[in-house]
């Protein structure tokens, strides 16, 4: 067997050119990423490697959307299996008739290769059908030409590969290759070339062979240009993903930070910039976004694509300016790239994060830009500013509240830590249940249950401050840290270790965010506490509630903290209840509209999120909507009033108290 030097060298030169173009673009992107803030620290390597297996090879998140998941699985695994054919091709370039050592002649491998050629084509067909015929709205802001180009290139690669394999079989009539038995597809296709003259067949084989190679090389140069960069960036993006609790926002060192929040693209954390290059524009985030679904400007996919496009547009100039120290004229990140409305429409419900197959973090980016607006520019919608001022002056966001922090508890004989000393459990009431007339009933119901079950508990009363959740999500990290430090000092002064709360926002902040400031407590949400009391038989139900029920998952209990079961256990234990699920429940639950500090915002654009959610509840025909969050409760009450809906929102503690 002689060596085909001219062909081998031609292939090497072409590969070298394509690789050079590819690397030049990748180096450019790498320099852009280096503009970002923060350093690279990798912990828990084992867990991270496992993630790569589960989420890249296993496609676990991609498959959460069945149709697009399956088609992507076909193409992705096709790509892996068919890498062997690319190696094969490089061997053939130098040595005609060469095959991979050990496995090259295996009919099993050949069968797999043929199977995946077929599956990739099926996948491409499904993708085309989805894009061209079904046209789901989630693709609206994605560049269709990029998608069609890629689907065309993949089809070209498959046609080239299948064609070259089929013609190779047709050419080797006398001495069929060892793998022939397995190559069911290529063998079948070879029949088409039966009538070709040997020279013609040879020419056609060469054409397919080069078609395959050239498209692959072109593909290589095209990868850095569009959303297909994800096939490289997905690996570092998943490996380096946030492993801290989802509900914990990134802390900001207020003393050291050059900019409080992000007003320019290079002020983002570098991983946030990497996120934007890992976005494959599938639009799942946008499809589940409650703000987007109710006609608002916020589009979590555009959050990523717009940062990426902006970075690519200004990146070189920013690098040059950094060296020369000169200011540059460029579109403003907040204002030109994103409107302030866009940033203030996010309820931080994490529906987008839940769905993102690339593990992108949408909330951190939005809150970073809010931080800039609020802390550097003192700009926010009026009602948000009002809530922030109230938090600053009186430690709660309810300006004009008619109650004091302990009015709800009057006459109930509840211990206060300052007066009666700490108890086994601290009952953290939260501002909503202390100051909102409707939500006060939840605090009362919970206290009554605890008294009936004989739980030793006390409240902080006037010494309780807002945990800072709304301040932090509104972008006022300074105010949040003040409140957090004050609360941690109070809790530590009384030696409190165990906290029980009826508010998922307090729960999340106490549990996941206070450890950032040295506050480590055992924190339990009342749904978990009530489920445990029922399990241990510490509550005797007097009468079953004969009601049809549905349950609304609070975002900060469910998606942010993974607790879906405990509230349902409570509802099921109430006996005689028929719990009907809404179509969007658990991981896919639709926010009530109050998260991210938007309880205090005016919702002026589009349909109200709580009205939309009330309609979801209405579809179940349930008489009662159970919730486990005072904010969800109040949002539902408002929607029920506005829409005259025939159901009543109740907290699980209220329902349970009724049954005792």
């Amino acid at each position: 067997m002689g060596i085909d030097w001219p062909r081998g060298i031609a292939v090497l030169v072409l590969t070298g050119v394509a690789t050079a173009i590819f690397l030049r673009e990748m180096a450019r992107i790498y320099r852009f990423l280096r503009l970002g803030q923060g350093s690279l620290r990798v912990d828990r390597v084992g867990k991270r490697l496992l993630d790569l297996i589960v989420y890249v090879l296993g496609h676990v998140k991609v498959l959460a959307w069945t149709y697009s998941g399956v088609l992507h699985l076909f193409i992705f695994w096709g790509f892996l299996v068919l890498l062997t054919t690319i190696l094969q091709q490089y061997g053939e370039a130098f040595v005609p008739g060469w095959s991979l050592p050990w496995i090259g002649n295996s009919p099993v491998l050949a069968g797999l290769q043929d199977l995946f050629i077929l599956l990739v084509l099926v996948g491409v067909g499904m993708a085309l059908y989805l894009r061209a015929v079904v046209r789901p709205p989630r693709f609206r802001s994605s560049n269709p030409l990029d998608a069609y180009l890629i689907l065309g290139l993949i089809t070209g690669i498959m046609v080239g590969l299948a064609g070259s394999r089929a013609t190779a079989i047709a050419l080797s009539k006398e001495a069929p290759p060892g793998w022939l038995a397995g190559a069911f597809l290529s063998r079948a296709l070879a029949v088409w070339f039966k009538g070709f003259s040997p020279s013609m067949l040879h020419l056609v084989h060469e054409l397919f062979w080069w078609l395959h190679l050239l498209i692959i090389l072109f593909f290589l140069t095209w990868i850095p240009e569009g959303k297909h960069l994800h096939l490289i960036t997905i690996f570092p993006n998943i490996f380096l993903r946030k492993l801290t609790p989802r509900g914990a926002l990134r802390p900001l060192d207020l003393e050291k930070a050059e900019s409080l929040g992000v007003g320019k693209v290079e002020q983002f954390h570098w991983k946030d910039l990497l996120d934007t290059f890992a976005c494959m524009e599938c639009g799942r985030c946008t499809a589940v976004c409650p703000a987007n679904a109710t006609g608002k400007e916020l589009d979590p996919r555009r959050l990523h694509t717009a940062i990426r496009h902006h970075l690519v547009e200004v990146g070189e100039r920013v690098i040059a300016a950094r060296e020369s120290g000169q200011a540059i004229d460029r579109p403003s990140l907040i204002g030109d790239v994103f409107s302030e409305d866009f940033l203030w429409q996010c309820v931080t419900c994490a529906a987008c994060i839940q769905e993102c197959p690339a593990f992108n973090e949408h909330i951190d980016k939005i809150v970073d830009m809010r931080r800039y607006l609020v802390m550097e520019e003192s700009r926010a919608p009026d009602t948000i500013l009002e809530a922030l001022r109230s938090l600053e002056a009186r430690g709660h966001p309810f300006k004009g509240a008619l109650a004091s922090r302990t009015d709800w508890a009057k006459g109930m004989g509840i211990k206060e830590v300052a007066r009666d000393g700490p108890a086994e459990w601290l009952f953290w009431v939260g501002c909503a249940a202390a100051f909102d007339e409707r939500a006060q009933k939840v605090a009362q119901a919970m206290a009554r249950i605890l008294q009936i079950a004989g739980v030793d508990f006390a409240i902080l009363g006037g010494e309780e401050r807002c945990t800072g959740d709304p301040a932090r999500r509104m972008g006022h990290e300074y105010l949040f840290q003040m409140l957090a430090q004050e609360n941690i000092a109070t809790l530590e002064r009384y030696g409190i270790t165990r906290i029980l709360t009826i508010c998922p926002h307090c729960y999340n902040t106490l549990k996941n965010e206070y450890p950032q400031f040295g506050g480590n407590f055992q924190v339990v949400h009342h749904s978990q506490f009530l489920a445990a009391l029922l399990r241990e038989g510490r509550l005797q139900l007097r009468q079953p509630l004969n009601l049809s029920l549905t349950f609304h998952d609070p975002c900060y209990l469910g998606r942010h903290n993974g607790e879906y079961e405990a509230p349902r256990q409570v509802l099921r234990a109430l006996g005689g209840n028929r719990v009907v699920e809404m179509e969007r429940c658990r991981e896919r639950a639709f926010c009530c509209g109050a998260g991210g500090g938007l309880f205090w915002a005016e919702e002026r654009v589009g349909k109200r999120i709580n009205h939309e959610r009330a309609e979801h509840a209405l579809e179940t025909g349930a008489e009662v909507v159970g919730t486990a969050c005072p904010y969800c409760l109040v949002m539902f009450e408002d929607a029920v009033k506005a829409k005259e809906a025939p159901f009543r929102p109740r907290d699980i503690a209220e329902l349970l108290a009724d049954a005792l």
Binding site: L260, E376, R394
Partner: protein, 266 residues
């Protein structure tokens, strides 16, 4: 433009009515553990001053009479953008009446600077006497405009938009002048920037005692007015419910009218 803003630290006026307590001896509100804030309209006055400074350049000085805790209010004013702050503090001052306070403020202002403009809130959110500003103008011999919301500098004078019952007046005043400020949508107090909050901690606050202003301990009484506060009380609000009986709606209506007449409602 050199601007002085007089402001007062008070108990958060947003506390629920049920939390409001009076001390029967001093006839003052008991502060308790309630939040302390800058009186509402004083914050509007500060905002107007800061906007003028942004437009015209100059310096804003915040002045208050109060206890040590009042430094918190001054820190807030510094964080919002005031350039310097002055605390006038001495135990007898806390008992002074409006005229006494205005005279103390006037002495302090004369001692500190020669301002072009002095701004006060149109009323404090606790006592609502609305008189310290005008007294201060009287004491300094300056023109006074009350209930201004916006101030336009014009040819070395100012034009003040002054709210009245069914609209507004535009009033021209020569400088220096005293203007008391009411709120409107243009003077909502700003949220301080975080960097300014952190920087405010390092800005000095001048402390003045009565002696610094040449006031003898006994002479404060002479500076005060002749009004004596007799008593203060929290109004008692009572609600009663009464059912009007009657067999027919007509009969019920008739009895309702009679009852309302009896109560002198109609």
């Amino acid at each position: 433009m050199e601007i002085v803003v007089c402001l007062k630290q008070i108990v958060d006026p947003e506390i629920p009515a049920s939390e409001f307590r009076l001390d029967p001896v001093t006839k003052r509100q008991i502060r308790g553990s309630h939040a302390l804030v800058i009186s509402t309209y004083d914050e509007n006055a500060l905002e107007v001053a800061l906007q003028l400074k942004e437009k015209q350049g100059g310096k804003v000085t915040a002045v208050t009479i109060g206890e040590e805790q009042a430094t918190e209010a001054l820190r807030k004013a510094l964080a919002m953008g005031a350039d310097s702050a002055v605390l006038i503090s001495d135990p007898p001052l806390l008992e002074a009446d409006d005229l006494g306070k205005a005279r103390v403020l006037a002495r302090a202002i004369r001692k500190l600077t020669t301002p072009d403009l002095i701004l006060c809130g149109c009323e404090s959110a606790d006592w609502v006497s609305r008189i310290v500003g005008p007294f201060l103008a009287e004491e300094l011999g300056l023109p006074c405009v009350t209930f201004g919301t916006r101030i336009e500098p014009r040819d070395g004078k100012i034009v003040v938009r002054r709210i009245v019952e069914d609209g507004y007046h535009l009033v021209e005043a020569a400088l220096p002048a005293v203007v008391t400020i009411a709120s409107d949508e243009t003077n909502t107090p700003r949220l301080p920037k975080v960097r300014d909050i952190m920087a405010a901690v390092k800005k000095p606050i001048t402390l003045l005692r009565m002696a610094d202003l040449g006031i003898e301990p006994g002479s404060l009484k002479e500076m005060e007015g002749r009004i004596v506060l007799q008593d203060v009380a929290i109004p008692v609000r009572e609600a009663r419910c009464e059912f009007i009986e009657g067999d027919t709606p007509e009969e019920q209506a008739e009895r309702l009218v009679l009852r309302l007449k009896e109560l002198k409602v109609i």
